[in-house]
Structures are given as C-alpha cells and as structure tokens.
Amino acid sequence: MRHEDKLPVLLHTALCDPRQTGARPVAPAWRAGTDMDRTRQQGRGRAGVAAGAVASPAGGLPRNPLARRITALHFPTLAMDRYLRHRDRQGDPVPDDLPLALAVDGPHGPVLHATNRAARLAGMRLGERVVDMRALCPDLQVEFADIAGDRAMLARLMLWCRRWCPWTALDGDTGLVMDTTGSDHLWGGEAAMLRDIEEKFALMGLSCDLAIAPTHGAAWALSRHGGLRETCQGPELAPRMAPLPVAALRLTPDTVLLLQRLGLKTVGELAAVPRRALARRFARAELPSNPLMRLDQMMGRLAEPVQSPDDPPRFAVQSRLPEPVIDPEPHLPALARELCAGLVAEGMGARRVTLHLYRTDGEVAALSVATARASRDPDHLLRLFEGRLDRLDPGFGFDLVTLEASVVEALDMVQTRIDGHVDSETELARLIDRLSARFGADRITRPAARDSHIPERREGWQSAMVPAAGALASPRSPRPLRLLDPPEEIRVLYAVPEGPPVQFTWRRLAHKVTRFAGPERIAPEWWADRPSARLRDYYRIETQHGRRYWLFREGVAGDGRGGPPRWFLHGVFS
C-alpha cells in the first residue's frame, strides 16, 4: 500500500518540477533562460507551472498540490535535552541554576553548541568561543557535545515517530518531517495529534516545536518561525507565509544575508518581486541557496515529497508453546532454521543473536551470543547456545520462546568450495565464537599495536571479535618472552647506584647476577604520564642458575622525583 501511495507523488514531481518539464534528461543545474523561453512560448508563467502541477498524472483525477498535510518537528535544544536526560539517568541531575554549556571544536578553540536555561539567562550565546563566555560567566560548566550520538538519537526518534504516521524522515540535524496526510483522524484531528506528539516528547524530556502545513517548506517555516502548534490550510498558505522572515525559506545564511541586503526581509516581499528578475539573479544557484526554488517548494509549485527510509529489517522468530516446557532446547533448531531462512532471503548475517524465554509467571530470561563474523548457519548459531541454557531458571516453565538477530550485517553469498569445506577464516571465526560464547568476548584476544614505547603499554590486547589489526613492529633491542603485570619489586645489592645489580632477592629467593647487558633507558611519556613519573633503566641479566630476567631501576638517585630509586623485575627471557 505504501508503494502504491508513493507512486503518484513521484509522477507529480516529474510533472511540476520546472527542471523536468519536457522529455529531455534532467540536467544537473538548470538554466533559467531556456526554461523561461519555453514557458513563454507556451504562454505559461508562474500560474502555468502551477497548472502543470495540477494536470493529472494518470489522465484522470486532477491533483491539488496543496492537498497533502506535512508535519514538521523541530527540536531546538536536542543536544542539551539529551545531555540533561543522560545525567538524570546517571543519578546525577544538573541543578537548574547551574549554567551549563555543550561545546564543539571550532577553528580557534571550542565554541558553544548548546546551552541550558541558566546559561541563556546568564547571557551565553551559541557559536561564541568558550573562553569568551567563561570570561562573562566564570562558573559556566562546559562539557563536550556528542554530535554523532545526537544524530543517532534523531534517527531512532524518526523510526519511533512512525507510531503517528507511516512516513517520517530526517530533516536537518535538529528536525523531523512527517507526511501525516490521512493519519490525523486516527488521533482525533490535527490539533489533537499535535498536542499528543508534543506531550509524548515532553515525557521524554525533549522540547519540540511543531506545525502542520500543506507543504514541507511551509511546515518547516511555521515550526521554526510560527506560533505554537500551528496548522495552516491550503487557501491561507500565501497570506500566512507572507509575514515570515526570509530565513524561514530554509536558505543558507549567506543567501539570507544577501536577500536582506537587497531589502527583501520577508517572504511576502520576496514573492512580490517579478519572477524573471529573481530567476536571472539566482539562475545557477543550488537548491539551498536558491530563494526562487525554495519559494516554489513552500507554495507547492515545486513538489517535495517526504522521502521516508524503509524500516530497518528486523529478524525475529517466535514459537508459542501450547503448554509450558522446562527445557527449551528441542524448540531451538526449528527457530534457528527459520531465522536463518529469513536472513538468507534478505542477504544478511547475524552478529548477535538473542534468545528470549518468557516464563509462565511473567519473568523473561534473555541469553545473547555474538559471532566474530556475520553468520546465518543454524548449526553454528545453535552450538553457541550449547551448555548455556542450563543456567536459566525455568521456574514453572516457558511458554514463549523468541529468537532474534539483534545485530545484523550484510553477508554476501559465496560459492562453496568444490570439496565442500569452508575456508580457513570462517573456521577460525567459528572457533572464536564458540570460545567467546563460553568465556566471554573479552577473554579471547589478539595483540594490538599501541603507539607507545613503555613496554607494558606497547602491546594492548583487543577482543578477537573485531578484525585483526596490523602486525606489531619489533623493537631494536631484545624483549622478554613474558611480562609480569604489574612489575614485581625486588631488593637489590649493587656496587654503584647507577650500575647493574650484583645480587637481588625476588620472591624470597636470592639470585646472583653473573652477566648483564644494559642499561637501556626508557623515558616516561610526558604527554601521558603524571609529572612525577620516573625514567627506567632496563638491564637484561643472567643469574647463576642460567635464567635470564629483565630488571629495571625506576629513576636515578637525586633526580628530585621521590626517594632512592626502586628496582623491579619486569620480564622473563627464554
């Protein structure tokens, strides 16, 4: 139903878009002169374009370009609302009278991105540098904004908004747009629906401005520059838009400034200018800086359908049992096969599979397994659950079992090998999956290079579930086979304080040093260490038993960073 409904809108676009009149292919940027010439030959002006829009696409019913109802939502303080909500959830709410600002990096240091009410009252302005604003308000608290997180939240909100109507889309960084044509009566009319939307968002702690108008442009303008929950009908569109400022046309700031310098302060003044003059001036301008096209979009002469992305596919299967069972294991193979069939049909593979078991007494038990590579092999997924179902408490039994691929990735079909075997990477990934399912993903690790020359920081171990990093470059001087973590302190006898030890006591045993190599000096990393960190002089020594160890002295005598230097045993050589 969704596609059938969208189709006329697209045809409508093709007809009323002045760039696309005629049969020639769409040019990337249109020349106003040629189009204008043709429309004049046909005796059509502005009204003509509008009339073209009204002409029926399928040769039957005339369509009114202002028949749709578009709702625009604007979250003026999305970043701050989200941050305050985050702090509330952490159990650390921000007091109302504390001036708080979120900052982003600017060309000359951080600039303000969002402010709370107390900061606004203290005179903080967005886009100003943090240091300037701190000078005005010394107790301003500044945190860094999470732009990507805000965007992800807006994308989630967009999907959540489909509770009111099926077509929603993102609209810039702080807005959403919904095509609510024919949906409002389900919520008791447009005014009631707007109140409902606002209330639901207020419950989430988000303040939002919203408006309904026949076109996207008009709804956008009214939500940002109009009144409270404004609705605008088709006939009153032009008079309602006329007093709005030109910034309501979704133009770039440069274009707004240019129009203001030309003396065009409001939409009405812009609409009163003869179309040819504007067309000549902005012939080559792109859409965001072209006031004429923006005006056409606002007035419905240039169609702008809401391009709603599809719902992300959700892979979940369930099995409702006639009687409660204690052991869910016999039901899993069928569920896994069904889930994998769905994944195959969509060309996806699961990275994380969650099993939900609903107990008869209302408890829900969840069990989740992850895979190192996207997989849709039911046998492999089942093996990951092996031995883990025993830990679930069945109570009086489960009566509903669901299996969901909660994280999925695109997985292309690969041709199987002629001998029927899987390739080595897949086999290794499956081994890692099985080990991770039993011991936890953080226990299966691969070495990862770190940019450091302190021995214990140089090698990080990262989870084997993520793809392998590049190989580590080996250092010039020999390194031990094992590193003690943390280094163990030893008691040392030495001939001179700066020299190698003669004898040391480690784990209550005395070792005599027969041969040594060193010292190798490793300085602390001043950019990462605390200021009192001391340098290390490493010695590779051999004891009288023939064992080889790696010792270091932390600091040198008289370096002014603490008392006499201490000695540690850090590694064992082969």
């Binding site: 081994l431 080990l435 226990r443 090698e459 580590l472 086979l481 590193l483 003690l484």
Partner: protein
C-alpha cells in the same frame, strides 16, 4: 586465504598410519608436554617456541589464571619469530582443557598451547588421551606447558623436562648473555628413545639438539633453598 584443512583422520586411518612405520608417526603433530623445572623460568617457553613454525597458521594460546599471575603474560615483541597469536585467558585448568579440545578441532590452527599450573585432578590420563587423539586426528600440534607440576600419568606422546642453561657468550659484548641454551631431557617418548640434550634455537627457526659434553654436564642444578 589459506587452503582448507584436510578432513580429520579416523581411528582406522591413525592405526594404519602407525602400522606403516614409526618414521611417519614421529613427525606428525601430536600432544607434547613440557615441564618447567622452575616455575618462573622462561626456558621451556623458548624451547617450545623454537619448534613452532609461523607458516602453519595462527597459534591458540590458552593460559589459566595462576600461570598468568605467577609467570606473566606473553609478550609479542619477545617472540623469536612473528607468530599470529590468539590468546584465551581462562580461570580454571578445566577451562584450559575444554578450550584446547575446541581449538584442536579447528584444523586451520598451527598449534594449540595450553598453560596449566600445578597438578589439577582433571588433567588425568583420560584428558590427555583425548587431547592426543584429537591432535593426531586433526593434524594440529598440541602443547601442554606444566609449571610447578609433577610428571604424573599422562598419554602425551613426548614429555620433556626443560631448564635454562647459561647462555652462549654474546659475540659483541663479553659481559652480556648471548643466544639462550636449554637443558632438555626427554623422559618419556612413544616413538623415540629418551635422552638428555643441550638444546638451542637455530637461526632458521628450528631446534638443534646437542649431546651433552662433560664440560657442561654439571650445570648448576636448580636448588631452590
């Protein structure tokens, strides 16, 4: 992409291989135990690593909590040759055995190394027999590194006891230790005769065994107290 591993051998194939002659069985991957005479000694690891070839595939390195605590973590920069290591950090010796069995079923691995501290009751003849058979069937070498352990009953095909010896002199620095030497005694072997050798790693990445001569026949025995 490496080539797919061959199909695991059945018990009948293993038997027929052994019947064909001991020479074929000696070189095939199997379960080997390496006992460290001293728990903090790095020699047994060097002895083991000298026998791992980097071309065989990644190495699954499983260690229990006590081994990591007492003898430290593996340091990749100190490996004698670059190896692709996947480390599995588990708590109990039983988990080491389970993870080793899982790893031995994956034929693309070059080797599976398990570090077990002490003498856990689970590491008995049956457990080692399972490991040995699985290693031979899938052609993956299995290594058990035993520290602070007694050589109890085990089905490992080769059992070594390894300790460090004083290193060769460094050609550039007379005061410094050079290439490491180990005293390796093979005290149980299924296919070969037991023996006592001085082992060192060769430059080509293998192990070289020398017979002990009288000069180094009296190394300082690891007397701890």
């Amino acid at each position: 992409m490496r080539c797919a591993p061959p199909a695991p051998k059945t018990a009948a194939q293993l038997l027929s291989d052994r019947a064909a002659g001991p020479a074929a069985a000696v070189d095939s991957p199997t379960l080997t135990e390496v006992f460290a005479e001293n728990a903090s000694d790095g020699g047994p690891l060097g002895f083991l690593l000298a026998q791992l070839a980097p071309d065989d595939g990644p190495v699954l390195w499983i260690s229990d909590r006590l081994s990591r605590q007492e003898s430290g973590r593996l340091c990749i920069a100190g490996l004698p040759h670059p190896l692709e290591v996947i480390a599995v950090d588990v708590n109990r010796p039983l988990d080491v055995l389970w993870a080793m069995e899982q790893g031995l079923g994956c034929g693309v691995l070059g080797a599976v190394v398990g570090e077990v501290w002490g003498d856990p009751p689970q590491l008995d003849f049956t457990a080692t027999k399972r490991l040995a058979l699985r290693a031979e069937a899938h052609g993956v070498a299995a290594w058990l590194v035993r520290r602070a352990a007694h050589p109890n009953l085990s089905a490992a095909r080769k059992r070594w006891r390894v300790a460090s010896l004083a290193a060769l002199p460094d050609p550039d620095d007379s005061r410094a230790p050079g290439a490491p030497l180990w005293r390796a005694s093979l005290f149980r072997s299924r296919w070969g005769a037991p023996g006592d050798w001085v082992a060192r790693a060769t430059a080509q990445g293998g192990l070289h065994l020398d017979h002990r001569v009288e000069a180094d026949a009296a190394p300082p025995r690891a007397a701890e107290h």
